[in-house]
């Protein structure tokens, strides 16, 4: 019986397609699968940021500056009815610091699918429902993660920040991918002098410290540019120096494959070079490219965060993780309001998730090896 099962198993492997084999191998890497789910979760936040936020991220009010996160009470007595306590703002008579005391007498019920500010879901469908919220009245508010100096809700800003930080990473990696595939492809396919030149350029780029260069380039962006212009400019600056690793991977695959039988025969039956490259070669190392791209994303996210943190990347009113962290630059401020450091958590989680996912994909990318 066992033998029969084993032969059945190996038969299954013999007839499986390349992508199926990769999926089987990927599935075994539990950490990578879990990370894949985390990454998917992040991109759901990107899509539904306005639904998950419950306060307009740009509305500020001095009256509730630097409020600590509010605790959510899930049960009112024995009934499931989440609520938060109202708060009273006062000045400390000694330090003149604004302090907030929860007011146990006031219960602000938390509603699911509550009405809030207007937005367009996915940029198309006008909506005003949010995942959670409180009833209309302006005196009743909820701050899951507290507020910043200008009294803006940190949770809602974090949702919008996730949208910008993760799309900038994705766009940046796409731009580097184009550069990397074209230059790495030329380098690996043609070889010779072109290869030497491109490889030397990569070596030079990799031996230059990047942050000072990025800072210099980013600081030169005109102050009067719109948020969108700055966004694209930063994407380009980040990707200009980030393509080298991708180019290296692509070149390696081309070199390894140039002499493979199927490539030689494609050439012999008279396929054009473009056809040989795009119909025969690229699909067989697509998986490697996907893995390398995933591994390149964390660096993009960190670069954007670092630049914005310094005040040279995205600038308010744009919201990104780096812009949010800029408020945590000063130790004194952070010591008083530690929740301002919370945006560091999604940065770290996202970077880790992309790394593990990329590792798993890279191992799975070559299902015939080992």
């Amino acid at each position: 019986m066992a033998v029969a099962a084993a032969t059945l198993d190996s038969q299954r492997i013999f007839v499986a397609s390349q992508w199926q084999l990769m999926w089987w191998r990927f599935r075994k890497h539990k950490l990578a699968v879990a990370s894949g789910l985390v990454v998917a979760g992040f991109y759901l936040v990107v899509l539904g940021a306005d639904f998950l936020a419950y306060a307009d991220p740009d509305v500020s009010e001095a009256q509730r500056s630097l409020m600590p996160p509010q605790r959510v009470h899930w049960f009112d007595g024995w009934r499931f009815a989440p609520y938060v306590h109202g708060f009273k703002g006062a000045r400390d008579p000694l330090t003149f610091k604004r302090v907030y005391v929860p007011d146990p007498a006031v219960k602000v019920p938390v509603r699911f699918f509550a009405e809030g500010f207007e937005y367009r879901f996915l940029g198309l469908i006008p909506m005003n429902r949010h995942l959670i919220g409180v009833d209309g009245d302006a005196t009743k508010t909820i701050f899951l993660l507290g507020t910043d100096v200008q009294g803006r809700d940190l949770w809602s800003r974090l949702m919008y920040g996730t949208r910008i930080s993760l799309t900038i990473g994705l766009l940046g990696v796409t731009a580097s991918l184009v550069l990397g595939v074209v230059l790495g492809g030329i380098s690996g396919f043609y070889g010779g002098v072109l290869d030497t030149v491109i490889q030397r350029v990569i070596e030079i780029l990799r031996s230059i410290p990047t942050i000072p260069l990025w800072m210099g380039l980013a600081a030169a962006l005109p102050r009067e540019w719109t948020v969108l212009q700055v966004y694209f400019a930063i994407t380009i600056i980040i990707s200009l120096l980030g393509w080298t690793e991708l180019a290296r991977v692509v070149r390696g695959r081309f070199l390894a494959m140039r002499e493979e039988d199927f490539v030689v025969s494609a050439r012999l039956v008279g396929c054009t070079q473009l056809r040989t490259i795009f119909i025969h070669m690229v699909p067989s190392f697509m998986s490697h490219i996907i893995a390398a791209t995933t591994l390149a994303l964390p660096a993009m996210i960190i670069s954007e965060t670092a630049l914005s943190f310094l005040g040279l990347g995205l600038r308010p009113p744009a919201i990104s993780w780096g812009v949010l962290l800029q408020q945590a630059q000063n130790v004194q401020t952070v010591a008083i309001s530690p929740w301002l450091m919370l945006p560091a958590i999604p940065v770290i989680v996202a970077v880790m998730a992309f790394n593990f996912l990329g590792d798993g994909l890279r191992d799975a990318a070559d299902p015939y090896g080992r």
Binding site: E203, A219, A306, Q329, V331, M341, N355
Partner: protein, 329 residues
């Protein structure tokens, strides 16, 4: 061997050239030329730049001529050590940067040494005791080190230092020694402050090196010559340290070339968070004030410094690895 070093040297020169072009681009990017912004700056301070003086400056930097001529004129000044005037500080750029550049070198080199000092034993331990608790712990710390951007790490350490010990962990000197002359006490003070920034800067590199060392050594340990050495009756530590570690060390050494630029990059932003007297805070201030000669010079000097460091590591590599020495190319 000489051919190899020669090739590296040529590449280093090309790299320096590329960096100089990029620095020049950064100087050129803001609107307006240096002299007109210099005049505006001086006027706002109440002093007047005479026409002759302005004319002399224009000729010195070749303004109004094609860009490549301007580049060569700038390079000519740079080669003799004249990096221009810092507009913000009203002093020659060299004076402003001065000691800060050496502090940057000091911190970067300390971080690099610490990276090695930590990664080598931990990597060997992880490979020899594969799947032990220590191995898992090292792997875990390694992943944290890779995932946490160093400026966030600096921020967190600063925060906990402040909250738990009410101590300011930033800076490189105690306040009372900040402006003191160099003395044994000041050097000791510096030595006490150095480990934290060096550790923060080196952690990501250490994490990577541990993984590389572990993987390489694991590959080597499975080879037949290790079995031979063991069956010959060598002690376990000798078996490991004498041959496999030496072989596994090579890819380890060749990655300095990529680690150093990374550390120098990181030092800029970590210095800002920790308030270290390196060129980092200076660069940010210069960029915000559009003090372009200062900014461009810092980028140039940091780049050149990194290239020199990489070149030294390449030469070290040749010295460690006889296979490279014997290669013809």
């Amino acid at each position: 061997m000489l051919a190899y070093i020669g090739r590296r040297f040529v590449l280093a020169i090309f790299t320096v050239w590329a960096i100089s072009v990029l620095s020049f681009v950064i100087i050129q990017l803001p609107p307006g030329d240096y002299v007109s912004s210099y005049i505006a700056q001086m006027a706002s301070m109440g002093s007047v730049v005479s026409d002759e003086e302005a004319q002399a400056l224009r000729i010195q930097y070749g303004l109004g001529q094609p860009v490549y001529v301007q580049y060569f004129k700038w390079m000519k000044q740079v080669v003799v050590g004249n990096f221009g005037m810092s507009m913000e500080w009203k002093r020659p750029v060299t004076e402003v940067i001065g000691a800060r550049l050496w502090m940057t070198v000091l911190i970067s080199v300390s971080a690099l040494i610490l990276t090695w000092a930590l990664a080598l034993p931990i990597g060997i331990y992880s490979a020899v005791r594969q799947y032990s608790f220590g191995d898992y712990l090292a792997t875990f710390i390694g992943f944290i080190g890779l995932a946490v951007p160093n400026f966030l790490l600096a921020l967190v350490i600063l925060y906990f230092g402040f909250v738990l010990f009410n101590a300011h962990v930033g800076g490189l000197f105690s306040p009372e020694l900040q402006d003191a002359e160099w003395s044994a006490a000041k050097v000791w003070d510096l030595a006490k402050h150095l480990p934290i920034p060096a550790l923060i800067l080196g952690l990501a590199g250490t994490a990577q090196q541990i993984r590389i060392m572990r993987a390489n050594l694991l590959d080597e340990l499975r080879k037949p010559y290790v079995v031979t050495a063991r069956s010959k009756g060598l002690s376990e530590s000798r078996v490991v340290l004498k041959y496999p570690v030496r072989v596994a060390l090579n890819p380890f050494a060749s990655t300095i070339g990529y680690t150093l630029p990374y550390i120098v990059s990181g030092s800029i932003i970590v210095s800002l968070v920790l308030g270290l007297p390196t060129v980092g805070p200076l660069l940010l201030k210069a960029l915000i004030a559009q003090d372009m000669f200062l900014a461009g010079t810092i980028v140039l000097l940091l780049g050149v410094m990194t290239v020199i460091g990489t070149l030294i590591s390449d030469i070290l590599l040749v010295w460690i690895d006889p296979r490279i020495r014997l290669e013809d190319t």
